[in-house]
Amino acid sequence: MNSRKLKMVVASLALIAAPMAMADESGEDLYKTYCWQCHGMLANGMGVNIVDMSVQPRDHSDSKEMSARSDEELFTAIKDGGRAIDKSVLMPPWGGVLSDDEIHSLVRYLRELCKCGK
């Protein structure tokens, strides 16, 4: 195999391997790991961190509030943080931690939590 072919094989393997890093993690497990700390085990915005917070995290079980948010808006809030949708800096950007696929899984899970869609 010449070096060009080898490079191509390595590059294709890297493409396959990268999204597989956390491909099997469900939206529910991602939520438990990254979101519980502020949004709470019951997804009601009452996480263990909120006592000294100036703004309460979004209640994801509130179907009225959540149905007013589009999937795109939820995606942006998770990926780029609260500031990106004119909300609190307390919601950090998760784009450096989660892939787009994982964020889409989270958005789908949020729709399950609020039993609402947009």
């Binding site: 956390m22 099997d24 993690e25 497990d29 991602l30 438990k32 790991t33 990254y34 519980w36 700390q37 502020c38 709470g40 085990m41 019951l42 009452m46 996480g47 263990v48 961190n49 909120i50 006592v51 000294d52 917070m53 943080g81 609190s88 800096v89 307390l90 919601m91 950090p92 950007p93 998760w94 450096g96 931690v97």
Partner: protein, 234 residues
């Protein structure tokens, strides 16, 4: 004269040999303790969790890069008299429960760290300083010593970046899912702090610490702030 010089050289050689021997013995006995008593809860060699199930199962910090992370003097005193640094343990999700209002800490599920004798703490701290995995992530001298007022530091930490959401800046004030930061200046090496905040997941894969792009100027200010906080008497 010649006899005296010879005697002196023998003395020097003996002193060097004794030093080498004792440091060798210290590192060896420290490693022995690490391998027997610490390995059950701490990863001493691996790179970190590969999936969320492994992340949730962590019982203590990864020590494979302890020599790049901790300050030796702090390690030595903490190992002899450990205190809780993470109010909700390693993976917070294992140590919380729904409360009347917000989720609360499940104190009964938190495990106290064992205390070592002063002599064991010394040799273990020395052995830990030799564990330097991930050195490629450290830029020596990345932190440029400087100062900041506590007030301005808190503005950067809380108002501008929201870090208070997860970290306490004094006992009982701030979030609970991350480690306290009011002892950080005594606990961690400054160049490590800079590197960790820049890319937490490179050190601690899958960690629930967000990865925020920060300018070097802000990173420096944060470390100035941690150093100032560590001087406070809480």
């Amino acid at each position: 004269m010649l006899f005296k010089t010879r005697l002196k050289s023998i003395g020097v050689v003996a002193a060097i040999a004794a030093t080498l021997l004792s440091s060798g013995v210290s590192a060896d006995s420290g490693d022995k303790i690490l391998e027997s008593s610490c390995v059950e809860c701490h990863d001493l060699k691996g790179a970190g969790p590969e999936n969320l199930t492994e992340l949730w199962a962590l019982k203590g910090p990864n020590l494979s890069y302890a020599g790049n992370k901790y300050k030796q003097a702090w390690l030595e005193q903490w190992l002899a008299a450990p205190t809780r640094i993470r109010p909700t343990g390693m993976f917070y999700g294992n140590h919380i429960k729904p409360g009347t209002d917000e989720d609360v800490i499940k104190q009964e599920s938190l495990v106290k760290h064992m205390a070592l004798s002063a002599s064991d703490a010394k040799v273990v701290a020395a052995a830990l300083m030799h564990r330097k995995a991930k050195s490629e992530l450290i830029t020596p001298g990345a932190y440029k010593p400087g100062t900041i007022s506590l007030r301005m530091g808190e503005l950067v930490f809380d108002k501008f970046r929201g870090c208070l959401g997860c970290h306490q800046i004094e006992p009982g004030y701030g979030g609970a899912s991350g480690p306290e930061v009011y002892t950080l200046g005594n606990r961690l090496q400054e160049d490590y702090i800079i590197s960790f905040i820049q890319d937490p997941q490179a050190w601690s894969p899958l960690t629930f610490m967000p990865n925020r792009p920060l300018k070097d100027k802000d990173l420096q200010k944060l470390v100035h702030y941690f150093r100032a906080l560590a001087k406070e008497k809480f």
